[in-house]
């Protein structure tokens, strides 16, 4: 510490003063003259339509992507972003409104054709589709892409539906068995036909194929396992220039091998910069100025920017406040808190009003009852268990204390709570729960971890949770596809528990719920299936495995320089595959 003390003291004082003065200086008025299309305009319409090419699109995230490997990503924003450099068998149309939620053919000529028993699904590949190096994409590449998702010791972060559903015996993935013919879950009768073989009937299979990047073709001879994400081979309008650098980002440049008849993507910017690790406040500042065009996380601006936008008419016209489709909720780990009455105590004591405020009050979302948000097909609102979805509800200290008595811990207990350290709203939720549960003696030790490792290595790792006594944590979930299965299976089925990237964080091994899941496979009628899903949701809550939070509304900002921007209902944020900047 070589700086002289007087200088340090003086400079700290100056810093404090100048920050104060800057704050008094007031909000940004850096509007470029043009009026925004109007508040909430991008929810149903495409704002600033344009087909002009050129310019550099700058997209930033405050932490980092969970993985750039299309087979290894799970965050909704990642599966949105991957479309820039990957095409899949099926994908979401690039359209606002409900049209954007239906699966559509991408590399496949059409949606998959099921067998009568819904256990075999056949897809026909378009011909002449090429990778960035000119090689043609064949059925074997799709088979390989699906096969590699079976090895969770290599690819730890992505969805696990294929490994759970396909009839592949005890196949362990291509890293342990290089001969792809031994993978029976997917067969390729010829170079342009892909057939999936399921263990159980599953009428929603097209939705499953559609939602992730896991059917993006991967050439077996170019696969590098965990390191493939450093330069995934592109089948989309852009390709990585050099490697992606974890923690810093990378650059995407146009891929001339991409087929422009692709209806779901555009190739407008001359360059796309993806910037990782940018501080959330700084990101918002640059976003409001238009130096950055997109906040990749898609969960809305932070507190300062929210105030600036809502109190400035010009800025407000460039903002949207859609219902995002996410539910920010908090799973309770039943391995660390095995007694249901202790879990009930935690839910009773929780200050729901503070959680609602932490996400931004009216602009942040609505208090939740069921875990499935309102836009899931056939979802019912459900009953409040051990809490109230009412504004101003601060928890019930007396009921919490009664529950503590019932679970044999009248003085309370001490556990750990996790949150994502790069998300200030989640930190505020954590502090609020620490305070409200502390009223009845439940002591929460707060620990923050960055978003890109949170689900893979910390909260989504049963071993980590056990070792660190993690009982509860902030979390959020968007439907993998808009049915109860797509929302709840990964959260509640005992078959869904994984050693890394686990979404059944509550560690539910509930026989009744597992039975209902088995029943769902046998049920053909969607309305009957919806009934089962509602029952599962109800038991998820009645057995105190979860603290409901808020159905998210995000306040999102789109600079005027951003073209073709619209809110995509399936991703719960702006669509990233058709943006331009000219």
């Amino acid at each position: 510490m070589r700086v002289r003390p007087k200088l340090m003291a003086l400079s700290s004082g100056l810093v404090a003063l100048s920050l104060g003065l800057a704050a008094c200086g007031g909000g940004g008025d850096d509007g470029d003259g043009g009026d925004g299309a109007g508040y909430n305009a991008a929810i149903e319409n495409i704002v600033n339509p344009s087909d002009k090419k050129g310019g550099t699109l700058r997209m930033a995230i405050s932490s980092d992507i969970d993985s750039t490997d299309p087979g290894n990503m799970y965050y909704a924003w990642s599966t949105n972003f991957v479309r820039l450099y990957s095409r899949m068998l099926l994908t979401y149309p690039a359209k606002p409104g409900d049209e954007g939620r239906k699966p559509a053919p991408d590399l496949a000529e059409d949606l998959g054709t099921p067998s009568d028993d819904y256990k075999t699904w056949t897809y026909k590949l378009k011909r002449g589709q090429k990778y960035e190096d000119g090689t043609e994409i064949k059925a074997a590449d799709i088979k390989y892409a699906v096969a590699r998702t079976f090895d969770r010791s290599v690819l730890r972060s992505g969805p696990s539906y294929f490994a759970d559903m396909l009839d592949a015996g005890d196949y362990e993935g291509p890293y342990k068995d290089k001969n792809l013919d031994n993978f029976k879950g997917v067969t390729t009768p010829d170079d342009y036909t892909v057939v999936f073989h399921l263990k159980r009937p599953f009428p929603e299979f097209n939705e499953l194929v559609n939602f992730s990047g896991q059917t993006a073709p991967v050439p077996q001879d170019k696969d590098k396992g965990e390191r493939y994400g450093l330069h995934p081979v592109s089948s989309g309008p852009y390709k990585w220039e050099g490697d992606y650098t974890p923690g810093k980002g990378g650059t995407l440049v146009p891929n001339d091998q991409w087929d422009p008849s692709d209806p779901h993507r555009k190739q407008l910017p001359a360059k796309i910069e993806m910037i990782a690790g940018l501080n959330a406040e700084e990101l918002d500042n640059q976003l409001l100025k238009g130096d950055i065009h997109v906040d990749l996380a898609g969960s809305g601006v932070q507190d300062n920017a929210r105030k600036t936008i809502l109190t400035d008419d010009k800025l407000k016209e460039q903002a949207d406040n859609p219902v995002g489709g996410f539910h920010w909720y908090l799973p309770i780990n039943s391995e660390v808190v095995p007694n249901v009455e202790c879990r009930k105590a935690m839910i009773w004591a929780a200050d729901r009003d503070a959680i609602w405020r932490a996400y931004g009050g009216d602009v942040g979302g609505d208090l939740a009852t069921s875990i499935m948000p309102p836009d899931v097909d056939g979802r019912e609102k459900g009953t409040d268990y051990y809490t109230k979805a009412e504004k101003g509800y601060k928890g019930d200290v007396n009921k919490a204390k009664e529950a503590l008595q019932a679970c044999g811990k009248p003085e309370g207990f001490e556990v750990t709570m996790l949150y994502r350290s790069d998300r200030p709203k989640e930190q505020a939720v954590a502090v609020a729960l620490q305070q409200s549960m502390g009223r009845v003696g439940i002591k929460l030790n707060l620990k923050g971890y960055p978003a890109n490792t949170y689900v893979t290595d910390q909260f989504g790792s049963p071993e980590f949770n056990k070792k660190n006594n993690v009982a509860i944590g902030t979390f959020g979930w968007l439907s993998d596809w808009p049915t109860g299965y797509g929302y709840l299976w990964a959260l509640t089925s005992s078959d869904a528990i994984l050693p890394a990237g686990n979404i059944n964080i509550s560690m539910m091994k509930d026989k009744q719920i597992d039975d209902w899941w088995d029943q769902a496979y046998e049920t053909e009628d969607p309305a009957e299936r919806a009934k089962l899903y509602n029952q599962i949701d109800d038991r998820f809550r009645s057995e105190a495995y979860v603290l409901p939070g808020v159905y998210a509304k995000s306040l999102m900002f789109r600079p005027d320089s951003l073209k073709n921007v619209f809110f995509h209902k399936a991703f719960g944020m702006y669509n990233y595959s058709t943006l331009g900047v000219e």
Partner: protein, 333 residues
């Protein structure tokens, strides 16, 4: 005609202090270094202001619970009914400052900022003092050994000090906080975290003290009284303890005061980066982080923890400077 001052017997020369001390008979006596220093300090208004402020801050930290009980609300208690649910700012103007909330409300959760500042002083001062104590012990020991014995001992210690001074303290602190277990040596949770912070800061600021002590020791060991002691047969340990160390008290005290302020700033920096004391315990540095996140919603909030840090650090600085001037008027000025 004014009566002349009566000077008793043998004290022939009139001392200026005697003239000024009034009509009372006073035996003129030689003043010790401490007394002379104290008189000089008393005349230095700036240093006195600093010293008084330091004492007030210490009292504030010690009596925090009483002060908060009388003038504020518990520091971790939420008051969200006074906060706008959508924008997050206090509903009342001027940041919610009132008789109930002397410094207003924290945005978002509505906690009493006055209480949090008062309790925050505990963390800053406790860490500042204890870390400095560690630095003093290590620094004085190694500095004296290096300065007195010279040769390769000096060389090794001096180079070690260079390495430590070049070390990026903050990065090391972040790394240490990340890997340390949840309980260690019987401490856990916030107690352990506090201990780690104190230890890290103390352990890395000892060279600051070490260098000063080494320099002072080198100049002292050449002085006549050391030669005199040696010629009378005194051995090194005795020389160290009876001749050198007593003469180090003054500079060590001065630089300890200045080191405290450096360490308070270190603690604030660590809290600011999120590796200091855990929430919900108030600490000025982490309050500053929160303030920056909400400067649009509550602009006054940024100033409050910053001013607290500034005032504390300046107080120690001015007092320390004054102390140094009082003890050795040849330096400074």
């Amino acid at each position: 005609m004014a009566a002349p001052i009566e000077v008793s017997g043998s004290d022939a020369e009139a001392q200026p202090e005697a003239v000024l001390s009034g009509v009372d008979r006073k035996k003129i006596q030689g003043r010790s270094l401490g007394q002379i220093a104290w008189m000089r300090l008393k005349r230095d208004k700036v240093a006195l202001t600093g010293g008084v402020t330091v004492i007030l801050l210490i009292l504030m930290a010690i009596f925090a619970p009483v002060i908060v009980k009388l003038f504020g609300h518990p520091p971790n208690e939420f008051h969200q009914e006074l906060i706008d649910p959508t924008l997050g700012g206090p509903l009342e103007p001027r940041g919610g400052m009132s008789k109930e909330f002397l410094l207003g409300l924290e945005p978002g959760n509505g906690r009493d900022l006055f209480s949090r500042i008062v309790y925050g002083a505990r963390v800053s001062l406790l860490v500042g003092f204890l870390a400095t104590l560690i630095a003093m012990v290590i620094g004085t020991t190694l500095g004296v050994v290096a300065g007195y014995f010279g040769g390769w001992v000096d060389w090794v210690i001096a180079r070690t000090m260079d390495v430590f001074l070049a070390f990026p303290l903050v990065m090391f602190a972040i790394a240490v906080v990340g890997v340390l277990p949840d309980s260690w040596l019987g401490l856990e949770g916030n107690g352990l975290r506090m201990a780690i912070v104190i230890f890290v800061i103390g352990f890395f600021s000892w060279p600051y003290m070490g260098r000063i002590v080494r320099g002072q020791t080198i100049s002292l060991r050449e002085r006549e009284f050391v030669d005199a002691a040696r010629s009378m047969g005194a051995r090194s340990p005795s020389i160290l303890f009876r001749e050198i160390l007593p003469n180090l008290v003054a500079p060590v005290l001065v630089y300890a005061t200045l080191l405290i302020l450096t360490n308070i700033l270190f603690e604030a920096a660590l809290s600011f980066l999120g590796v200091g004391i855990n929430p919900p315990t108030p600490a000025w540095g982490s309050m500053l982080t929160q303030a920056i996140r909400s400067y649009q919603i509550a602009p006054y909030f940024v100033i409050i923890p910053g001013v607290a840090i500034f005032v504390t650090v300046m107080a120690f600085n001015l007092f320390g400077d004054g102390l140094r001037d009082a003890l050795d008027p040849r330096t400074g000025r």
